[in-house]
Subunit: 239 residues, 2 copies
């Protein structure tokens, strides 16, 4: 092996190591964001104001990790000048961390609603639908992170399909709360808190879908945003 080859291999190994490192850090960010969503929803269910405050305080951890990974990616682009799949991976990561950071923002919004809601003492059964939606959304986020970690196209398509179920659950909560509000004006503040929280959860579902779209983009080179999932599945099957 010539000296140049050895050097080339060394560079390449270091580069592989950098790519692995950045993929590891995005999983750390994903885990952190998932924990924030879990705590925010727990605070909402239990009326635990202290826990809600902790979610709001801890949002800076999500933000700093996102900025750090973003800088790392820009460094890799500048120094390694990746092409093809490696380039798509880095561009995909830059976009994915922006979505994760905004899932963190939605968790913070849910935490604010939890603090507000704790002052209104909602009836238990008013929260049960919201808790079911929260459970579906958390499962979806977890699957999206798994699919991203393994760059698994099939799992990604499944997550995008699951989003329709989330949308139906969300619409159900909205209709239900409007009925409660019309029946009893005293329930308006509680219903609004529940509606805003449901909206945040629905957005977390949307952003989990985005993660899966980057997986499909990375693996197939196809930008599937704004294309129906059936069309994607069909095309992938044919190719």
């Amino acid at each position: 092996m010539s000296e140049t080859d050895v050097f080339q291999q060394h560079i390449s190994r270091q580069y592989d190591h950098e790519l692995l490192d950045v993929r590891g850090r995005i999983m750390t960010l994903g885990g952190l964001v998932e924990a924030q969503v879990e705590s925010a929803v727990a605070a909402l269910s239990s009326g635990d104001v202290e826990l809600a405050r902790k979610v709001i305080e801890d949002d800076y951890k999500v933000n700093s990790l996102e900025v750090a990974i973003d800088e790392e990616c820009t460094q890799i682009l500048a120094l390694r000048q990746p092409t093809a799949r490696d380039l798509r991976l880095i561009v995909g990561i830059i976009k994915a961390i922006a979505d994760l950071e905004r899932i963190g923002d939605e968790a913070k919004r849910i935490a604010y609603q939890a603090i507000d809601l704790a002052g209104h003492f909602p009836k238990r059964n008013q929260l049960s639908e919201l808790e079911r939606l929260a459970e579906s959304v958390r499962a979806m986020l977890r699957k999206a992170l798994d699919a991203f970690a393994r760059m698994d196209v099939d799992a990604s398509i499944q997550v995008v399909k699951d989003d329709r179920q989330i949308d139906r659950q969300y619409e159900g909560i909205m209709r239900q709360q409007i009925t409660y509000m019309m029946e009893d004006a005293r329930s308006i503040p509680t219903s609004l808190d529940i509606m805003w929280s449901a909206r945040s959860l629905e957005r977390i579902g949307d952003r989990s879908c985005n993660l899966c779209e980057y997986v499909i983009y990375y693996t197939t080179g196809k930008n599937i945003r704004h294309v129906s999932i059936e069309q994607i599945a069909q095309e992938l099957q044919e190719s």
Copy 2:
């Protein structure tokens, strides 16, 4: 001038041309998005269901232009392998077009609210605050696009400061509509439409701020997200 120099200059000119082209296209996208917001708000004010439907239909134009610019940026990264400021510009553009596309989504959401609202016949004075918020947000988006076109840091800082005014207007509308809902249950559907529209407008304000943050990142190399605007202004003055 040696042959290599001439060639180098040629490459460089073509590259400059590509950068100019991509900056031009982002302005086209910005103009399109601005027009969508304008039409959505006009549909809301006038109860023009046809106009609202046109906004919803035209959203695909925003989406396709965003995908095209995104691909153009990835091509430039792969072929030109830019570094330093050029790299920050391309990464900034990739992020900015994602924000513009989502401003387009918010315009579409406002258009859906406009169709719903047209069925409830709101009292004129119920819309006046919302129209004022819409005017502020549209002005802010326009300033943000101008600042982005000229990569103007001072103008960008001003836009980020203006966002506080938008937040205050938004909070005022929310409080006002809750009062209306509590006073008269019949106003609940109208008030909810107004609240959702106000929320979309407030989000458009947030995304306009994002554009300005990319300008500051491009020009100074500083990632100012999650940092107070006073701190930024201070640091830039000192440097």
